[in-house]
Amino acid sequence: MGSESPDFGPIFYLSNDMHALEIVSLSKAYLSGFLKKVQALQEISLTIEEDEIFGFLGPNGAGKTTTLKIVTGLLKPTYGDVKILGAPLSQVNIRKQIGFLPEHPSYYNHLTGFEILDFAGGLCCIPGFERKKRIERLFDRVRLKEVRNVRVSEYSKGMIQRLGIAQALINNPELVILDEPLSGLDPIGRKELKDIIISLKDEGKTVFFSTHILADVEMICNRVGILHKGRLLKVGKLNDFLSDTKRNVIITFEFTGRVKPTLIQNVNPTAEGYLNVTIEKEKQNTIVKSLQNEGASIISIVPETITLEDFFVAEIKKDEN
């Protein structure tokens, strides 16, 4: 069983037990100021399989960028082990198999978009002829063809971000690592980029990207990891998380009697003139019965929709307690 890498770098035969990325007990302490340490990552362990889109979620300062920088060799871990496609970080040439989009990227202002990609291709040792072909295809893919010969200093933020995607894909990488790829893009740009991410998966690549915007992961990720204050709180499928959490139901009722219902607190009036109460699902039957006994007529019972946002906030709150 092996799939041959189409790149010009070393050829890796991917076996069943090899992961796209394997992070074991990764810790990172920054030295900030004199002898003062900031623990940015604490014992993170994470395995990303080939062919998946993994969303790395976390609020600002959670340690997402720190993790991605360690994986791409820009930072040295304080402790722990990282393997990319089975190879250790120290093997520089393994980076021929990865593409990286840094956070808030910037490129040489003295170069044009074409020259940036040509430079990136040169660093990945892609021969000139092949390089030109790929550059043209990438410019099509990220829709920058018209500005290919314009200096990068004149690019808009969205163009820079798209150029960043193109430079990350120049070496046709197995593993694509994107640090907040959707930041700075307008809704159309976001849609396009999400489509690109999905198409990367269709090509058999693995995508590992960070974001703090939950809507980004909802549609496209196979699995997500939630990072908070340097610790990985949860890893898994989004749907599993959401069905795991206890769900509430919202009962809407109309009360015609003069006496207010005594059984329950937190009754809120709705815009239509009804009353509304949110309770745990287990208590639904008892509460409905007693409401009816007191003379209320039930209008509707609906499960409360838990948004990813709520889930995320709940997880982080749980962690803080």
């Binding site: 920088k69 040295k76 021929k96 840094p102 910037s106 003295h110 990136a120 040169g122 960043g164």
Partner: protein
């Protein structure tokens, strides 16, 4: 291929920057300086022009090496382009050497342009074009190479301003190296003597590279002197670069 890509990019960056202002500045200084001083020189015009030309080629080269060199690595960190470059399959050592060689290539091209202009002015004013002056220019280039090494070394751990100041400091005491040795030999007190000796061995002896006086007076430059100077410059520069790589390799970006 990687290092070639890095070298060419560094070269492009310099060329698309304001480097031509320096070249233009040089050309004007040389031309005006020669024109003004020659009439005052009472038959010494050859030497005057040669001295001005060789001296200013050296000075402009040093100036550029310090100005560009001290920013090379720092700018990449500051503008975050380093993340883009070093997440590619590029070793940090390759990056440092690429930057260094790119700047050296830039300086070589600049010095060649300046030298052509210098020969043109010299020939125009005196009808002379002695090729021995090229040896002096080559020696200046060796000195500039060491200075480039220093500015890259400092720029791996300090800001451009500090890096320029430190490099300038080493340039100045490097040129004063023989005086330091002389001082050391005069001082009898053992501790100071010892310390001065150490300083003398650490700093680059840049006086080796000043053969401008010699060539202007048409004194011969021995082959041994050339070989010694080339090896000295190479070894000194390589040591600086290896140190730079070691520092840079450990750096968290």
């Amino acid at each position: 291929m990687k290092i070639r890509t890095l070298i060419l990019n560094t070269f492009k960056e310099a060329v698309r920057g304001k480097i031509f202002l320096i070249i233009l500045g040089f050309s004007i200084v040389l031309l005006v300086g020669s024109k003004v001083l020659v009439p005052l020189s009472l038959g010494e015009e050859r030497r005057i022009i040669m001295n001005i030309g060789l001296g200013s080629i050296s000075m402009f080269g040093i100036l550029l090496a310090i100005l560009i060199g001290s920013q090379l690595v720092y700018n990449e960190l500051e503008r975050k382009t380093i993340y883009f470059v070093l997440s590619k399959p590029v070793k940090r050592q390759t990056f440092i050497f690429g930057k260094f060689l790119g700047l050296l290539l830039t300086l070589l091209v600049v010095i060649l342009i300046l030298s052509c202009w210098f020969y043109f002015v010299l020939f125009w004013l005196t009808r002379l074009h002695p090729s021995v002056l090229l040896v002096a220019i080559f020696f200046s280039f060796l000195e500039i190479m060491i200075i480039t090494g220093f500015s890259i070394f400092f720029s791996t751990f300090t800001s451009p301003t500090l890096s320029s100041i430190f490099t300038l400091f080493f340039f100045i005491i490097g040129r004063l190296a023989p005086d330091i040795q002389l001082l050391a030999s005069k001082i009898k007190e053992p501790v100071s003597h010892f310390l001065l000796q150490i300083v003398y061995y650490i700093i680059p002896n840049l006086s080796n590279f000043n053969i401008r006086g010699k060539v202007v007076y048409a004194e011969p430059v021995g082959l041994n002197h050339i070989l010694y100077s080339v090896s000295y410059a190479l070894i000194y520069t390589i040591i600086l670069l290896v140190l730079s790589c070691e520092i840079f390799r450990r750096k968290d970006l």
